[in-house]
């Protein structure tokens, strides 16, 4: 199908992932199918250990599916995919490199044009409020700033698809809200398709155009809920919007019923 390139950014079909150890085998994901349209922001929520992170890693080509298939921008995923940006739970910065050089690692590994990558890095540093910290080492930064650096690095090569694995999980509530607002702005300005794994229902609804709810292990898709809110979002406004309340309650119930099984 030649037109898959235009109407599907990520296509997951009948995906099952089993991990085998010497004694047992665990099913991390069970028959998961998910289609993501370009420019969408998909929030994935689910209880701990439901295979959310595994789903992202399969899409990135870091973990091979046991059965089923994944394609990214119409291209089947068979190994690590270069067309994505990945932001990890921990910032995963190189502690011997300053902020700017950490961001530019992406360019070095990909052999990008140095001058252009430099300009792009400076723009991202400005965009995420890291100006003045270009030479600071990771240990000199707070957790929130480290995650900003990781975000810049994931966006440096302007990936059409950005995968984020609980990037704000370790941050305090205030910093988290701020980074959420920034991520919303970046998403709107870049048009990147984003898949975000999170534990926070509020974060999922605030950021997503769609929230995907998963069941406990083995991970299945329980429900996909459209978030009927404008693209540009403000925390105070969204929190008081009745849609927000309805959705978070609905998701909490879904998670609760899934948990009790």
């Amino acid at each position: 199908m030649p037109d898959t390139l235009t109407d599907t950014a990520v296509d997951v079909a009948g995906l099952t992932v089993r991990f085998r150890s010497k004694r047992s085998s665990t099913t991390a994901l069970d028959d998961v199918s998910l289609r993501v349209e370009p420019g969408a922001f998909i929030s994935i929520v689910g209880p701990s250990g439901c295979g959310k992170s595994t789903l992202l890693k399969v899409i990135a080509g870091l973990v091979a599916p046991t059965t089923g298939s994944v394609s990214l921008l119409g291209e089947p995923v068979t190994g690590p995919m270069r067309t994505i940006g990945f932001a990890f739970q921990r910032a995963a910065l190189l502690e011997w490199r300053g902020v700017r050089k950490n961001i530019l690692l992406q360019a070095e590994m990909r052999g990008m044009n140095k001058a252009r990558a430099g300009v792009r890095a400076d723009a991202l540093i400005e965009l995420t409020g890291l100006s003045g910290f270009e030479e600071a080492l990771p240990h000199e930064l707070s957790g929130g700033m480290q995650q900003r650096v990781a975000l810049c690095r994931a966006l440096l090569h302007e990936p059409p698809v950005l995968l984020m694995d609980e990037p704000f999980g370790a941050l305090d509530a205030l910093t988290r809200e701020q980074l959420n607002a920034e991520l919303n702005r970046i998403w709107r300005e870049t048009g990147t398709t984003i898949l975000l794994v999170t534990h926070s229902i509020a974060e999922a609804v605030f950021l997503g155009t769609r929230v995907v709810v998963m069941s406990p292990r083995p991970g299945r898709l329980v429900r996909s809920l459209d978030v009927d809110l404008p693209a540009a979002r403000d925390y105070a406004q969204v929190m008081t919007d009745p849609t927000f309340g309805t959705l978070t309650r609905q998701i909490r119930e879904l998670l609760g019923s899934a948990e009790s099984h």
């Binding site: 890693k57 990135a60 080509g61 870091l62 690590p80 995919m81 270069r82 994505i84 940006g85 990945f86 990890f88 739970q89 921990r90 995963a92 190189l94 502690e95 011997w96 690692l105 992406q106 070095e108 590994m109 990909r110 400005e126 965009l127 995420t128 409020g129 003045g132 910290f133 030479e135 600071a136 080492l137 240990h139 000199e140 930064l141 707070s142 957790g143 929130g144 700033m145 900003r148 305090d172 205030l174 910093t175 701020q178 607002a181 920034e182 702005r185 540009a232």
Partner: protein, 287 residues
């Protein structure tokens, strides 16, 4: 239109002063601060030695006075310097070879499962063999020249380099390796930009042990069969009951060890100024 000015990060401290990381004055102060306590202990021991030897609590042929040792060093200056040079040469070459071979072995072990299974047990087992006991064999095989001394230095210094290198290369955060994969990095890029720099703190700790062991290797090599070097000087002095010369040789050996240790220490400071063990400044933020 929302601009970056609308959202001000809350957790934003002031940028760090770039000079703070390489403040020479602070470094010197820290060095002197670390020095004065051991200096007092050493000074006390030195005074005790002086009093004991000057009052002949023990005969001079067993414990010479500091003056006698000094006179020996000054009197035989050129010959002692020559022997020191020989030992230093053997030690440095041995240490460098051990570093290169040790690192290469560590890379093989860390990267290849087969090598890990085939080589690592042998490296560990070889460590059980007392290297010093091999010295006579090396002399029989390679003669009285520099080769057996250098080889002994290599053999002794090799182990800590391999073990620290393997530990360092294996300590890479798996997330960093996954990150590298999403960037489409080659194995070589991942090694050069991530795994190797990440292994450096471990590796340098091993190098510091290795350099002091290399001195031991060179000296023991000289004990077994040599016509030059501080080990030879020491053995000769021992045979002549020339305790002043014996002390002089010991003193110079220790000096070589300390000197080389400091060189590796400085190298470490230059290579990994970012590492936690080398930080002078405290973090700017607490979260």
């Amino acid at each position: 239109m929302v601009t970056s000015k609308d959202v001000q990060p809350a957790d934003r401290p002031t940028p760090p002063a770039p000079a703070s990381r390489f403040d020479l004055g602070a470094r010197l102060l820290r060095f002197l601060d670390a020095l004065w306590r051991p200096a007092i202990v050493l000074g006390a021991l030195f005074v005790l030695w002086w009093i004991a030897s000057e009052n002949e609590w023990m005969p001079h042929y067993l414990v010479p006075t500091p003056g006698q040792v000094w006179d020996t060093i000054a009197g035989d200056w050129s010959s002692l310097m020559y022997h020191s040079y020989v030992t230093l040469y053997e030690t440095v070459i041995g240490f460098l070879l051990a570093s290169v071979l040790g690192l290469a072995t560590a890379v093989l072990i860390a990267y290849s499962r087969t090598m890990d299974k085939a080589l690592y047990p042998i490296v560990l087992f070889a460590q059980v063999i007392p290297k010093i006991a091999i010295a006579p064999l090396l002399v029989v095989w390679f003669g009285n020249g520099l080769a057996p001394k250098i080889m002994l230095a290599v053999l002794i210094a090799f182990f800590p380099v391999v073990v620290s290198g393997v530990a360092g290369l294996r300590s890479t955060d798996p997330e960093l390796l996954e990150l590298s994969a999403t960037m489409g990095a080659s194995r070589w890029q991942t090694f050069r930009k991530i795994r190797f720099p990440n292994a450096l703190p471990h590796l340098m700790a091993g190098e510091k042990v290795a350099v002091t062991l290399a001195v031991v290797g060179a000296v023991v090599g000289e004990f077994v069969g040599a016509s030059e070097g501080l080990g030879y000087t020491l053995l000769l002095a021992n045979g002549n009951l020339d305790s002043a010369m014996l002390f002089a040789a010991l003193f110079l050996m220790s000096l070589i060890g300390i000197l080389l240790f400091v060189v590796v220490e400085v190298l470490e400071a230059l290579l990994i100024p970012w590492h936690a063990s080398r930080r002078t400044a405290t973090p700017l933020t607490t979260s």
